[in-house]
Amino acid sequence: MNNKIPNNRAWLLVLPMLVLVAFSAIIPLMTVVNYSVQDVLGPNARFFTGTEWFQSMLNDDALQAAFLRQISFSLIILAIQIPLGIGIALIMPKRGWQASAVLILITLPLLIPWNVVGSIWQIFTRGDIGLMGWGLRELGIEYNITRNAGDAWVTIILMDVWHWTPLVAMLCYSGLRSIPEAYYQAARIDRASKWAVFRYIQLPKLTNVLVIAVLLRFMHSFMIYAEPFVLTGGGPGSATTFLSQSLTTMAVGQQDLGPSAAFSLIYFLVILLVSWVFYTTIMNMQKDKPPHGGA
């Protein structure tokens, strides 16, 4: 890694990529910045507003509520998916046709379009035609995601766990596969307990992939849109309206250019900030950790 050749002509290799990403990232982002400081009343009537939109967005009650819901949602699904994903990775078969079959089955939810994931769960949980909705009703449990906010939340979390735990499991599985068999043999000879094997052999090897998993899961859960939109439409009331949906309603539905642009920038910066803080904290923790045997 540290023996890279200094060569500024490498820019030529990066250039085509840079042009494309600039076209789809910088130009649109500049448009957003442009809108966020102006009040656009018509094609020729626009006024500079400074930070006014940002202030009104930060003080907006509905958005603050959506933000809190978003944070709780991300934390809950991380708390469920990370341990569950590790657990599944530990019990997945390592070789043979079973390993291939399980791999294909497990990845399946990841490859379903997000709105179809919403449709699948909408069908699955409806009281009249869905297996889960019908089953719960037969068991005598009140369950209605269009009326009861708690039911809607449980269903959305269940859906997200169903949808994204495979990603965590696959990441951990590939991390586990890179552990040499000799480590396990040494542990057997030492008569290490299952827990000790996990704690001192498997978990240290998983740190890298787990950082990727937490980052990806945080980012994606923070941008979630299509699944809850199809499943609950953000309701009942606004109980399951997350940030992306609030933003889309504001930008496309109400055409409030200035406020939605300001909101966009705040939204983007929050994701960047959290990811950056998480990443640097983990990296610093790893640096400070005294090197201990083997791992």
């Binding site: 023996n3 890279k4 060569n7 002509r9 490498a10 290799l13 990066v14 085509p16 990529m17 840079l18 494309l20 990403v21 789809s24 990232a25 130009i27 649109p28 957003v32 809108y35 599944i88 019990i91 291939s100 399980v102 791999l103 294909i104 089955l105 497990i106 990845t107 939810p109 990841l110 379903i112 379009p113 997000w114 709105n115 179809v116 449709s119 699948i120 069908i123 699955f124 035609i129 869905g130 297996l131 590939s174 596969r177 890179s178 043999q185 057997r188 890298n208 992939v209 990727i212 299509a226 992306s244 949906q245 933003l247 889309t248 939605s260 966009s264 920038l265 983007f268 994701i271 960047l272």
Partner: protein
């Protein structure tokens, strides 16, 4: 293999000396643990498949059967829902549109990401770290943020409602992802290979195409898998940038809900058909996928 066996046996001998548990009991215990983990895995897979099974189940029923009674499997098996989709061009064109922009996106992305990832894995140049970090920030950009500007941008350059518009828009998150994955795979190829090839008189393009790309082909396969995955599942941008000619299947599916109720059978059949391309793609890369998921970094 024999070496492993020997080691295990030796381990067991130590165990018999030091532990109160006899080898037979110990073997029994590991066998039980094995079956327990198989059972748990089976349980998880069954629960995971259940919603998909229900979708398939409904796609094979008529609407009257779906709404009429609760049936755990289709009583009167019918393929009408599928036939309806395959004989109506406004339906199946949705699949064609989706496939087209996904394929375009994969092609564009891999073409620009391969040289860029090579540059990041082999050279240092002014601003390389900042550039890489900026690329990764694009992965974190919520598509909802870009809805309006994309609409205006592509409308003003006359690309609105074309496949290429969606393909370019998906580059926003796919190019950084591809570079990230490919850089990992490329860095695991020893640099001596490049140097030897240059000494042997290979030019850079010839070396890259003839030697380097074949060496990382499993990495490219896995990258393509991820590109397919994220472009295929995205709907928000695809929906915003299209109107009629390039509409993705996900948008056409919303047509099933009309004033007179929802056409559940067709919705379910359309949903099942969106799962199939994913199964095909994952089948092709199944042997490399485990390494690829760690983005070449384990």
């Amino acid at each position: 293999m024999s070496y492993q066996l020997e080691n295990t046996q030796r381990g067991e001998k130590y165990n018999t000396i030091f532990s109160k548990v006899s080898p037979a009991k110990r073997r029994n215990r590991t066998a039980r643990a094995h079956w327990r983990s198989r059972f748990l895995l089976g349980l998880y897979l069954a629960l995971m498949i259940l919603p998909i099974y229900w979708l398939i189940n409904m796609s094979l029923q008529t609407n009257s059967e779906i709404l009429g009674s609760m049936t755990l499997w289709p009583q009167n098996l019918t393929f009408d829902n599928y036939i309806g989709i395959f004989t109506n061009s406004s339906w199946y064109m949705g699949y064609v549109n989706s496939m087209l922009y996904v394929a375009m996106n994969m092609l564009i992305t891999i073409c620009v990401a391969l040289p860029a990832a090579y540059a990041f894995s082999r050279y240092t140049f002014i601003g390389d770290k900042h550039l890489f970090f900026w690329l990764l920030t694009n992965l974190m950009a919520p598509p909802a943020v870009f809805l309006l500007p994309y609409f205006q941008l592509y409308y003003s350059v006359g690309l609105f409602d074309t496949h290429i518009a969606v393909a370019l828009a998906h580059c926003l998150f796919n190019i950084p992802l591809a570079i990230w994955i490919l850089e990992g795979f490329m860095s695991s190829v020893p640099k001596e290979i490049d140097e030897t090839a240059y000494i042997d008189g290979y030019s850079f393009p010839r070396f890259f195409v003839k030697i380097f790309i074949p060496m990382i082909r499993s990495g490219i396969g896995v990258t393509l898998f991820f590109l397919f995955m994220f472009s295929w599942v995205e709907l928000l941008l695809a929906r915003t940038l299209t109107a009629t000619d390039a509409q993705p299947i996900g948008m056409i599916m919303t047509r099933t809900s009309t004033a007179s109720g929802i056409d559940w059978g067709t919705l379910a059949a359309a949903g099942v058909l969106t799962i199939i391309p994913g199964i095909l793609v994952v089948y092709f890369v199944r042997n490399h996928i485990a390494k690829g998921f760690a983005l070449g970094r384990t």
